[in-house]
Symmetry: C3
Subunit: 176 residues, 3 copies
């Protein structure tokens, strides 16, 4: 069996230019390590908020690296340089609106500005792409909300069988 | 006054090939019988998960059969052959995002994988098309959540006046 | 510093023809006056439910008038002449799905037909466009739900700094 690969993309002009540390990308990687019992490899990219670059990086991680899951952080707000959802929509064959809806709903418990996040998710081939917000605290809240559905989603798109650390997060697979 | 027609489309490779029984299509028909006091006729189709076929069947039921409501089951997940939402979007002039949002929210009370359902709804001419999930239990939960708004929606698109069995489900029509 | 301008568009065949008074447009203007401490000018248009006219009016208020916020009322339902969300999508570079989701969720507490509202929001240049429903009561409910996020949104798109009357509505700006 080949290695399970998880893609992590930080879209941030400043982090990619080295102006500040990419704490968000690190937060996703840490959360993945905690959540996933299955041995896996992280493929990490930190890139500027450029739509073409984001799309190319998503395609690289999905098609060439074979990541079954690609998680992005950054670029989901209303500002001019925020284009991660548009990039996601362009590279995906199917959009999964339920992810964005649930993540915004969860974030709304903490801040009314949660509605400004345009984060979404979608399917490209055998990969699930999920946008997360840019802030480490929100990343954790959002991942915790949607992750229980991720392993079954990856089953359905014919990806590898992901096992979670059940004491940290419980994957749900409905009985067929 | 002409007969009220309700379309029911089951999109399922296996059910349409006779590999298993279409329990979901039957569940929708049973629910319609319970909900609707108005005499009506069900126009039922069981077809494979082929996007062209789904689109043609939707157009047939809306345009030629004159169904004021077309309810689909199946094909709303993330798998390759799940294309019912895309077919719906292609044949509709207007999308109704509130239906999918509410149905996912209701299903989330039961299973965290509810976010994997991409079900939506839309308007084609004088017909309302609603996607339901594939499982009989979820069908009932979802229909129960959105149906109170269906008769008024059909009023607004100049369809027939639907009366519900009020002891089973309460249609809501706001006072003008 | 130049004046803060807020656009208000009523899309209604009947109100624009003078068949009835535009109570909804007035309700939005009153709410803005209550909410906003910052001195501002309202640019108001009452136009028919014609998609081209709605798009042109949105572009006029955003591009030529320089409104940082354009609020519409009317035309969000499923009826043939309801085309405000389509006009909004056509003139915006970025869609903000969280606004429509939250407004429908709030309206659902009052009426099950809230799912029939297709209202959305989006960004055009340095302007935020928000669709509100047509009824004065729902307008107030919906604006109250989303407005706490509006000033920060306008900060992010490089618009003017809006101050709210905190005893009426509390704007939220996350600490950077």
């Amino acid at each position: 069996m080949s290695t399970i690969k998880i893609g992590v993309i930080t879209a941030s002009d400043r982090a990619s230019a080295g102006i500040y540390e990419d704490i968000s990308g690190v937060a996703i990687q840490d959360t993945m390590k905690e959540y996933l019992k299955s041995p896996h490899e992280i493929v990490y990219r930190c890139i500027p908020d450029n739509q073409d670059t984001i799309e190319e990086t998503m395609m690289e991680l999905c098609d060439r690296e074979g990541c079954c899951l690609v998680v992005t952080t950054g670029g989901t707000g209303p500002a001019k340089r925020d284009v991660t959802p548009e990039a996601t929509e362009n590279v995906c064959e199917k959009m999964m609106p339920g992810f964005g809806e649930l993540m915004r709903q969860v974030s709304l418990k903490y801040v009314p500005t949660a509605i400004l996040s345009r984060q979404t998710a979608g399917i490209r081939g055998k990969s699930l792409i999920i946008n997360l917000p840019g802030k480490p605290k929100s990343i954790r809240e959002c991942l915790g909300a949607v992750f229980p559905a991720v392993p079954y989603c990856i089953d359905l798109i014919e990806g590898p069988y992901l096992e979670c650390n059940e004491e940290v997060i419980k994957a749900f697979r409905p009985k067929q």
